[in-house]
Symmetry: none
């Protein structure tokens, strides 16, 4: 065996990385294979890889392997943290800021089947025999609008917003056995939103959604 000092092994691994130009985030051979290929003991190879990992050239994980580039971020949007910092008023403000623009995107991108889905949710909400079911279909309508935006990132943000909303307004569900009155303000507002989306009227959809949420907000205040 030739000189297998630490720096020599490190150089050989660097050379391997340079010659076999892996795509960024690409996977290196397993340590055992790479050690044999480079004619190096596994321990020495691991030392070199540790150095490269410290440099940020590669990252490793048990069971996964060794990869080029930096370790992908593992931050999850901490919904609990948001819940503790915020309050129902902020939630409503965020909805009024965010959802109209989602509706605008939906108006521009919704497929016919998605528009049919929106109409279906709307009808189910109108015919809901209880408040609980009404809210369920109302939620689904709003999320379907997010799906209709055809933007998975917008949908993800909307889901996050809704998760926070549910956590914040938890336990406030109306358990009144009565059903929403046939002239409930939301029904016509929902219809305006859905029709604007069906008409591909982005500005109209955004405006209708804004009016709807403002209406919900004012009724929320009346309850207190």
């Amino acid at each position: 065996m030739i000189e297998n000092t630490d720096s020599a092994v490190l150089l050989r691994v660097r050379d391997f990385l340079a010659t076999t130009q892996l795509p960024d985030g690409g996977r290196l051979p397993p340590e055992r294979e790479l050690a044999e290929f480079l004619d190096v003991g596994r321990g020495a190879l691991r030392k070199a890889l540790a150095t490269l990992q410290a440099e940020g050239v590669v990252w490793r994980h048990v069971g996964k392997g060794t990869f080029t580039g930096e370790r992908p971020i593992d931050t999850v949007a901490d919904i609990n943290a948001m819940v503790q910092r915020t309050n129902p008023l902020e939630v409503m403000g965020a909805r009024i800021a965010f959802e109209p623009e989602v509706a605008r995107c939906a108006a521009l991108n919704a497929t016919p089947s998605q528009i049919a889905e929106l109409r279906g949710c709307m009808l189910k909400a109108q015919q809901a025999p209880t408040w609980r079911l009404y809210e369920q279909w109302d939620n689904r309508l709003h999320r379907s609008i997010g799906e209709a935006s055809q933007n998975s990132l917008l949908l993800g943000l909307l889901d996050t917003l809704n998760a926070v909303r549910r956590a914040v307004t938890w336990g406030r569900l109306r358990d009144t056995p009565v059903r929403p009155p046939p002239d409930h303000h939301s029904f016509e507002e929902h219809a305006r939103i859905v029709e604007a989306i069906a008409d591909r009227d982005g500005a109209g959809a955004a405006d209708a959604m804004r009016r709807h949420l403002r209406s919900v907000e004012s009724h929320m205040r009346d309850l207190r």
Copy 2:
């Protein structure tokens, strides 16, 4: 077999749900078992379950089973999940939809010290000696606008959006050693945004932010 009309089966299933009080979200026995237990044909049982599902009492999924309560939406609070589903184009679309409204809120709610902070970030970005530092101060400017909205939930959503953006556009950082040119388009656009916020001009701030992001988007396309 006794009378197994649809309503009778439905009643028997409801009774089963009532007696075996499952936790919300609990799982019912498989259709085959439940049908035998209730001494009912599987088809009839499925009819009843379909009704219950339409009512929102249960939800079903192939391979998973039948569960009580509402179908949980797979909330993608996991940024990695969002990153894998989305793409740079969607990220830009989400920014254009979301950030102008954040700027609008900021115009209405920013404190004087926050406005000063915005001006500071703007100047630092203009004087940045490298592209990397410019992007750093640009990022901070956009986040400061989120802080100025005085809505922690909007700020949280903005942070989530930015985390996804960083992950998606990763490795595309310009490492050109040169600094942004003094007439870089963003400088004037930033100034318009900040001044609109300082003037408490919500519509103007939203408009300026939208123009800015559209400009960034078009330059992004030119690079390819």
